[in-house]
Structure formats: C-alpha cells, structure tokens
C-alpha cells in the first residue's frame, strides 16, 4: 500500500448510474415519493438528462414545508440551480475537492461530448469504494490470516473521526423548531435526548419530508414522530465495524457513546467516513497525511 487509496480512481468508478430525473413542473409531492423510493437525498431536475436544470434536496423540501408551500408546488420553485457538475473522468480526489469547496454533498457527472448527465456521486458512494478496498487489503482488519501485519497498523477508531457537535432537541420540542435546527445544520438528522443527554430517538430529514407528505402539523412535539431506538456505536469501535453496521442496517449515521448507558458524545455518518478519503487504517494514509477536518 503506502499510497492514497483513491489514487488513480475516477468518478466513473464510484458514481451511481441510475439517475432519477424530475421535470421542472413535477410537484414537491412527487419529489418526496421519488426521494423515498430511490433512497436518495436529492433529485436532479431537468427537461431530460441532457438539460439538467437544478437539484432538489431534502433540505429544500423541509424549507418548502416551513414556508407553508402546498405539496402541489412545482419543484422548479424550490430547486437549487444550476447543479454542481464534474466530469466522469475526473479523479475522485478532485471531485471530493469540488464538493468540499462548494459545500455540496453530491455532484452530477456530465459527459463532455454529449453534455448528458451520466451519473451522480455522493459521499456515501465513496465509502462503499473504500470499504471494498479495505476488505481486499492485506493489512485490513478483515484479512485475519495476516495478523502479523495487522498488529503493526494503527486502525481508526470512531472517536477519531466522529463529529463531536451533536444537534439535539427534547421530546417536547416542537417540530417547527426541529426543522429550523436541521435546516441550519449540515446534518441529516437530529438526536432527541432527555435532560441527561441520553438518547431517546432520532428525527431525520426523511422523517420530516414524510410528515409534510402526510399532512402533519408543524406544531407537534418531536417525541411523537421520532424513530426509536437510536442506532449507537462506541467511541472505541473500529471505524470499519461502524461502517459495516451502517451499510448492513441501511443507516446513514450512528450516534456515538463512550460506553454503554452513557450520554451521546458524537455522531458518525457515512459522510464523515468519506471525508477521511482513505481506508480504515493508517496503512493507506501514512504517505498521504491528509485527513479532512469537518
């Protein structure tokens, strides 16, 4: 190893080729259906894949609800335009840099010749690729036969890359305030905790878009719509086991506790894991020495 795991890989390797495109006059209601159905956080808006006009994210949908827009509002009214593009042959590193510089979570790959969007890449897609490399790496935790090498390599622990500022609210916090907090946060979910900061539930942006679609009221308390139980991991867990847990349980994030029955100390998302830009241990970051800080 001894080199950056992502070296030599292009966007084409990691991008999702299944593209969901909404027309500009499709409704917010339809957009929420597609977000749920395809488990994506944002959808491209365009006349077709050759004329991409904008992007609608779950955050935009929350904003629409907060602003009191009806579900029948066309997505062109709330989309962000234009989308951020990259070239499918760009290196993954440069794509990550575009995302970081522009503070966006996904890029659309635009084929130069045809000007058509041919894929989309978001942070979690990169985690998948990294996981693939780790599972094939002879120094990885998964390769149990090479324990001599394994013992020498320092592996990342959850507390090293988790985000320590956790947005939280109480069970009686009104949904309206939850939407305000989540809109201002880069996080996709808020922790619902008790007075001792013990985890009680989670409300994700997906839960909120669903409430909007179901005609819920913004004045209901957080406790009535939160999901339980909270998916947790420990500070001392290896990053790769946390990632594995997220991938298997179909979760985007795990809240972190120092030990069992303790208050939440951080949160680890697939996005955090992708920001590391490396595999799960120091073996592949040693020559690169570049861990992106949040």
């Amino acid at each position: 190893m001894g080199k950056d795991t992502l070296t030599g890989l292009s966007v084409r390797h990691a991008m999702r080729k299944q593209l969901i495109v909404l027309g500009p006059n499709d409704t917010i209601d339809c957009c929420i259906q597609y977000l749920l159905k395809y488990k994506v956080n944002a959808i491209l808006v365009g006349e077709n894949s050759e004329r991409a006009l904008g992007v609608v994210s779950k955050t935009d949908i929350m904003g629409a609800w907060y602003a009191g827009l009806p579900l029948s509002t066309p997505v062109r009214m709330i989309m962000n335009s234009p989308p951020f593009f990259c070239n499918p042959d760009d290196t993954l590193d440069s794509a990550l840099n575009i995302m970081k510089t522009n503070k966006v979570y996904r890029l659309y790959a635009l084929e130069e010749n045809s000007n058509a969007v041919v894929g989309a890449i978001a942070y979690p897609d990169i985690v998948g690729l990294l996981y693939h490399y780790c599972s094939h790496c002879e120094q990885g935790i998964f390769n149990k036969s090479k324990d001599t090498v394994q013992d020498r390599v320092k592996r990342y622990k959850v507390h090293e890359i988790m985000t320590k500022q956790v947005e939280s609210c109480k069970e009686d916090t009104l949904l309206e305030s939850v939407v305000e907090i989540l809109s201002a946060s880069r996080f996709g979910a808020i922790l619902v905790s008790d007075d001792q900061n013990y985890p009680k539930g989670v409300i994700s942006k997906t839960d909120i878009t669903l409430c909007y679609r179901h005609g819920q009221d913004l004045s209901v308390p957080a406790g009535t719509i939160m999901s339980t139980p909270v998916a947790l991991c420990y500070e001392q867990d290896h990053v790769e086991s946390a990632i594995k847990s997220m991938i298997l349980k179909d979760l985007h994030r795990l809240f972190v506790v120092p030990e069992k029955h303790q208050a939440v100390s951080g949160v680890l998302s697939l996005t955090d894991a992708a920001r590391l830009r490396s595999g799960s241990c120091h073996a592949c970051i040693s020559s690169r020495i570049r861990v992106d800080k949040n």
Binding site: L36, G128, K244, L248, K249
Partner: protein, 153 residues
C-alpha cells in the same frame, strides 16, 4: 375473435387509496394468493375514482432493499441481528401513496390487444388499467392476455 382490451380485462379488482397503509396492501397480496390467482400489483385510486398510481410487490421490495447492498458482497460475516426486521419495520409508518409508482400508463377499452401487448413489452409492465371517462373500469393482466392470444394454438 375478441380483439380489444375490454375483451380480456377483468372488471372485478381491488383498489387502494393513496392513504391506505402498506399492511392493507400486503393483506390484498396475501388474500389473492389464497384465492389461487396471485396478483402482483394493485391499482391506487383517488376518491373520485381517478388513477393515482399502482403499488406492486416490486415497489415494496424496492423499498426494503438497503441502499448500499452492492457492498454486501465484500462483507464476509453478515450476522447483525434483525436486519430484515429493521427493514420491514420501516414500512409501518408508510402509506401506499408514499411508495407506489405514481405515473402509470393506462389503456382504453377499445385499444387493440396487439397495441396493449406492445405497451406491456416495451414498458416492461405486466398489468395495465383500462380507463374510460377518467375512471378505471378494468385491468388487463399479461397472463390473461397470454391465455387469450394463445388458446387457439
């Protein structure tokens, strides 16, 4: 020879409303199996009888599919308890309208069977609602179409 959609459509079929629960849909799927004619998709209609969409077994299964399942091949010991329960549990808060396919193709009662077949093949669908005056009056299933067209062979 019967040659149009209305000749092969069934006029007795279950429908759901967009705010029906997913468990209501699952009940219909289960009951159809017991009746001996398994259906794979249920029409969803609004209060006025107009078509809102279709919910198929595929829609439900698509929702159960984990987002990053393509990485599962790299995971050697998939033993985390309750993965399937967790996935199916997510269906509880959902309405049929949340995961149905909203934009669906329909045919008219007088459409020729070969044109119905053409739509089924090109669009990869196995059932098509038959619409007259804005209301769903029947369903054409690919199995009925098959049996009808080939009964003379």
């Amino acid at each position: 020879m019967k040659t149009t959609a209305k000749d092969v459509m069934v006029t007795s079929f279950k429908t759901l409303s967009p705010d029906s629960s997913i468990s209501e849909a699952l009940e219909i799927f289960k009951a159809s199996k017991l009746d001996g004619k398994t259906i794979f998709g249920i029409l969803v209609t609004d209060k006025d009888g107009s078509i809102a969409g279709m919910i198929s077994m595929y829609d439900v299964l698509l929702f159960l599919l984990p987002k990053h399942v393509k990485i599962w091949g790299n995971i050697s010991d998939i033993e985390i308890e309750g993965i399937i329960d967790r996935a199916t549990g997510k269906l509880k808060n959902l309405f049929v309208g949340d995961i149905m396919t909203p934009k669906i193709i329909s045919v008219t009662p007088d459409m020729h069977l070969m044109m119905v077949l053409d739509i089924m093949i090109k669009k990869h669908v196995r059932r098509l609602p038959v619409v007259s005056n804005g209301e769903a009056v029947g369903m054409v299933y690919i199995s009925d179409l098959f049996n009808h067209l080939l009964e003379r062979v």
